[in-house]
């Protein structure tokens, strides 16, 4: 989390919950104006009904991301030796999370992945994603993973397709996922990202930027940051590689662009954001 620049308003370890428990803390953080996203690690609860009631109320105001530990039988036994809590059935917990709008994270890093996107991005208007990439294989995998996380590929508008085609090399693909191919550089990223930002069919943008190809330039980072600032929808970046890549990723992060080094992490984060938006929308109509 430190590396990713996540800020903490409060960090509370409540031990064995003798006097103050997760329900009290959730209520408090729900009303705390300095807290924008609530992250929880839960092993068990003695007040299941109250937890759900409070969580549902809080979820309508701000996102709650939670890890439920002790999901397996063996994990449940480890819980009772760790905090003495009753781990409970994972099916019951899943249902409770769903009903109260809690976004489930499987891992500690995943929790921070979600916290970052919730903190930095607006909620999408729906689940239609556009993927832009300079690596074809990465585009295919990102598609698989977006679909696995509840997203659908946006049908790009004719205007967008035209703009994209004008900027791409003749063999690149203007369909979604947009494969700009290894020849893509500043010009292509600029044209494609701006077209996607302006396309109302697109609810969120999944930008893949691999900095190894010769055509790529560090200036692409500025292009992405500018598109991100102009965008009223979520725009996240996935990149992969060694130290050279980390420099670019860090600059993106410092400029408020959620950046991930795994396709699956990026797809899950975008999926979590979209999942939460759906919960919130459903509850505002009630």
């Amino acid at each position: 989390a430190g590396f990713r620049g996540v800020g903490f308003s409060k960090f509370i370890s409540y031990g064995n919950a003798l006097n103050v428990d997760e329900v009290d803390l959730l209520e408090y953080l729900g009303n705390d104006k300095k807290t924008r996203v609530i992250c929880m690690y839960i092993e068990g609860t003695r007040r299941g009904k109250e937890l759900m009631k409070v969580a549902q109320k809080v979820s309508c105001k701000k996102p709650i991301v939670a890890i439920k530990a002790g999901r397996s039988e063996e994990g449940g036994r480890a819980v009772s030796s760790h905090t003495g809590a009753m781990a409970g059935s994972s099916m019951v917990w899943d249902a409770a999370f769903k009903q109260s709008g809690i976004v489930k994270a499987e891992d500690v890093e995943e929790m921070f992945d979600y916290a970052r996107i919730f903190n930095e991005e607006p909620l999408p208007k729906g689940n239609k994603v556009a993927i832009a990439t300079n690596g074809g294989g990465f585009g295919v995998l990102a598609t698989d993973m977006c679909v696995a996380n509840g997203l659908e590929l946006a049908e790009l508008s004719q205007k967008t397709k035209k703009k994209i085609k004008e900027s791409l090399h003749y063999f690149a693909s203007a369909n979604n996922p947009i494969d700009m191919a290894a020849e893509a550089g500043v010009e292509q990223y600029e044209a494609v990202l701006n077209a996607l930002v302006d396309d109302k069919n697109v609810h969120s943008i999944f930008c893949i930027a691999l900095f190894q190809p010769v055509a790529m330039d560090s200036e692409v980072v500025d292009i992405i940051v500018e598109a991100h600032e102009r965008s009223e929808k979520p725009l996240i970046v996935c990149s992969a590689g060694g130290e050279y890549n980390h420099v670019h990723m860090k600059t993106l992060e410092e400029n408020g662009v959620p950046t991930y080094d795994k396709l699956s992490s990026a797809a899950k984060a975008l999926g979590a954001l979209t999942y939460y938006e759906k919960f919130k929308k459903g509850h505002s109509y009630k």
Copy 2:
């Protein structure tokens, strides 16, 4: 991969597979003495039966880790626009991977996570894992994730339990997962890891080392490296945190200890190693 210090003997991009395809390459790499682990990214094949036949033969000699892209319907369409291949049904691919001993990776980073553990660790004799941690919650989560990836918690021998209890603070847990608590340092890691290395009930060791607590010392890295060198079973490390942590992780990596910054990545890698061992054992008995 660069950051993790994975070495490449060959790196082949075979484009649209007009003259040379995945079957030819697999056969070639299977016989190549400089290649210890084969990593593949596959979008489709025109020679399914041959691919399976060659893969099964090669898998008995060395591990094949493969990503199958285009698993979703939308991903399949992206494949046909990328390399022109037929993506095929993901169920058929899953069955083919299983029968031919191919270890499936979902993501590019995951593929390298697996490559590292296959390259650096011996195969475990079974699926019984011991988890040692200085963070109780991490131990619970690691347990859940190990179980989800086909591992079981080892029942520690009485001798091991005795040794562990002697070295731990009175409130720490000598059961598996072994929660050494935040008070653990050099002495505890040394006693616990060595006991696990010597315990025949334990087939693999999942060591969690969080370097933030005051009791922790950079010297714990040396303890882990020594235990790893002495161990005839897989020993991997999971750690989490910022730059301070990365320094320790890098030293572990440089000394040949597979190190992961996510619990899920570590559990999946250990699961993959155990899965492959089971395949290989099954085939050597035929």
